[in-house]
């Protein structure tokens, strides 16, 4: 096994281990399947680094999940759009400046308002995260230190059901994961 594959295997094992400690083992009958942590690592290809995925680009995240958002101002978007508005540029410049001066990896989260179908919003949230990441690269940030995650409409910042809430929810958030 090459060094790269070995490192990847260890990383996967680590993620599996830390996540399983944070898991609730349900007592429902039948296929509650939290034994999945065991079976997941036995999937052909995952342990050997080939096949189903490539986790090497992901930062290591502890059992508590990602840190809270809020260190940086959220970048806001128009309805059904992944275009970076000129008004949001300065927020991205602040993130890029932080990355240049500090270590760690950046997770770029894409979010949507509730007006849209679930799976479409997962793709839209990802496109927002990618648009923000690409803009950060243009501002000098290292793309290898950034990872995207889309929550679609599943994690609104404001639980309201009006344009004020929706405008806050169409956003990208940035969290720093130190290694």
């Amino acid at each position: 096994m090459s060094q790269k594959l070995l490192a990847r295997t260890i990383l996967i094992g680590f993620i599996t281990a830390v996540m399983s400690t944070g898991c609730h083992h349900g007592n429902g009958a039948g296929a509650n399947g939290d034994g999945g942590t065991g079976s997941e690592s036995s999937v052909p290809g995952i342990g050997s680094g080939g096949g189903p995925g490539d986790l090497s680009g992901r930062p290591m995240v502890g059992a508590g999940g990602l840190p809270s958002e809020g260190q940086f101002a959220a970048v806001l978007f128009d309805y059904d759009s992944a275009r970076i508005r000129p008004s949001e540029e300065s927020k991205l410049e602040a993130v890029a400046a932080y990355l240049k001066a500090n270590p760690g990896k950046l997770v770029v989260e894409g979010h949507c308002d509730e007006r849209g179908t679930a799976e479409y919003n997962r793709a839209l949230g990802e496109r927002r995260a990618i648009a923000a990441r690409d803009e950060l690269v243009k501002l000098g940030a290292d793309t290898s230190r950034m990872t995207t995650i889309s929550y679609g409409k599943d994690r609104p910042a404001d639980p309201g059901h009006d344009e004020t809430a929706w405008a806050k929810n169409r956003r990208c958030e940035f969290v720093v994961v130190n290694q």
């Binding site: 349900g26 939290d34 793709a123």
Partner: protein, 405 residues
């Protein structure tokens, strides 16, 4: 144009117009037999429960209108026996005018299996009197929002026997069944990032099928159960891919600057319909399972997402149809795409937000999410009659249903 195509189109067009009499083909499908349930002799508690389940099944099948025994075309009679060893249900269905026995059969099972036993009886009645496959023994998977998490659950098609599948206290969404009904693939944020996981319903074992950088979601089995189509963003933005059921042999299908999502296999397994906003607004496109040039299917309304191809049985009166979620006047509604026309005709447009259509194996019923006062719940829709039925409400909310076999 074949008769079958004409019939499928007539169904969807006439549903919105409400003018069924205009087409004789539709009347054949829509016609309901009047059916009288006289009940069951024997243990009163068991008999009452069996009668209730049977009536609900016959109503939901779409093939029967329940009527007083005296005036019904078909009449049911029967008996139940039950003790700690189990239950036995005997049922006779007779055509009243001819006094001809259409069905006479006995069923047995454990006392806990009572609903399942009656579902089997109901499907036999549907098969015998309509020649069509019933749906009473099918299952529905869905996303159960409660305690601040999204978990997967599976239930009987009528909303009973809800069984929670995941206990991750995370986000588990977009379930899709394997054709044999044994496995469900879904999107899980259990390990922080959205990955495609599979759960085996027989063993409870879970395994990770796709965990590439970025988005891994939208996984759906091909009709032969050998391939999975899904959305990945690892190559720059959300694109469509196929892979084998082990997660290997990954192939990229689309190459656009837009986002591609929500794949659904055509009934013959040769093409994949999906959502793309390549034209500036989300519409349904189609591409060969081997990639190549994509073609746009829907033109109007101006926003169509969540395509789901039906796969009616070979002997069915129903033809394959593509259900979608359209946005019209700020509201979501369920529609059916008419092949070749580019037009989507509404089948569930009632002022509520109706989303997430998923076809039953009979190609006639849909399960979908209806959101009223910001609370999502699941409904069944018979696209032939246009009738909607709410499933028993679940605490919290229910969404993203997937109808299994």
């Amino acid at each position: 144009m074949t008769t079958g195509t004409a019939r499928a189109i007539a169904v969807s067009v006439l549903l919105c117009g409400g003018a069924f009499r205009a087409n004789a083909q539709v009347e054949v499908i829509k016609g309901k037999h009047s059916f009288g349930v006289s009940g069951f002799t024997g243990d009163a508690a068991i008999a009452g429960q069996v009668t209730d389940v049977l009536k609900n099944d016959l109503r939901l099948s779409g093939y029967f209108s329940l009527a007083p025994v005296s005036s019904a075309e078909y009449v049911q009679s029967g008996s139940v026996r039950g003790d700690h060893n189990g239950i036995v249900v005997e049922c006779i269905v007779m055509q009243q005018a001819t006094k001809k026995v259409a069905l006479s059969k006995a069923y047995q099972g454990s006392a806990q299996d009572l609903r399942r036993v009656v579902h089997k009886l109901s499907d036999d009645i549907v098969q015998t009197l309509s020649g069509q496959r019933g749906i009473a023994q099918t299952k529905v998977a869905f996303v159960w929002t409660h305690n601040g998490a999204k978990e997967l659950a599976v239930m009987d098609y009528d909303g009973y026997n809800v069984h929670q599948l995941t206990y991750d206290r995370s986000i588990s969404v977009r379930p899709r069944w394997s054709p044999d009904g044994r496995k469900i693939v879904y999107t899980s944020y259990k390990n922080v990032f959205p990955d495609v996981l599979e759960v085996d319903l027989y063993t409870g074992q879970r395994r990770r099928l796709a965990s590439y950088p970025g988005l891994n979601t939208g996984a759906v089995f091909s009709p032969d159960g050998l391939s999975i189509a899904l959305t990945l963003s690892k190559d720059g933005n959300p694109e469509l891919y196929t892979m084998n059921v082990q997660g290997g042999d990954l192939r990229r299908l689309t190459h656009t600057r837009a986002g591609e999502s929500s794949p659904t296999w055509s009934p013959d397994g040769q093409a994949i319909a999906y959502v793309s906003d390549e034209s500036g607004v989300p519409q349904i496109w189609q591409i060969s399972k081997d990639g190549g040039a994509a073609s746009r299917l829907t033109v109007s309304p101006s926003y169509n997402t969540e395509p789901d191809w039906s796969r009616p049985p070979a002997n069915s009166d129903m033809k394959p149809m593509l259900a979608v979620t359209s946005r019209v006047g700020g509201k979501f509604q369920i529609g059916v795409y008419e092949k070749g026309s580019g037009v989507v005709s509404p089948v569930a447009a009632d002022g509520a937000d109706n989303e997430d259509p998923s076809w039953a194996p009979d190609g006639r019923h849909l399960v979908f999410t209806k959101t009223q006062h910001w609370r999502p719940q699941l409904y069944l829709l018979d696209v032939v009659t246009g009738e909607q039925v709410q499933l028993p409400a679940v605490e919290g909310g229910a969404s993203e249903p997937a109808w299994g076999s």
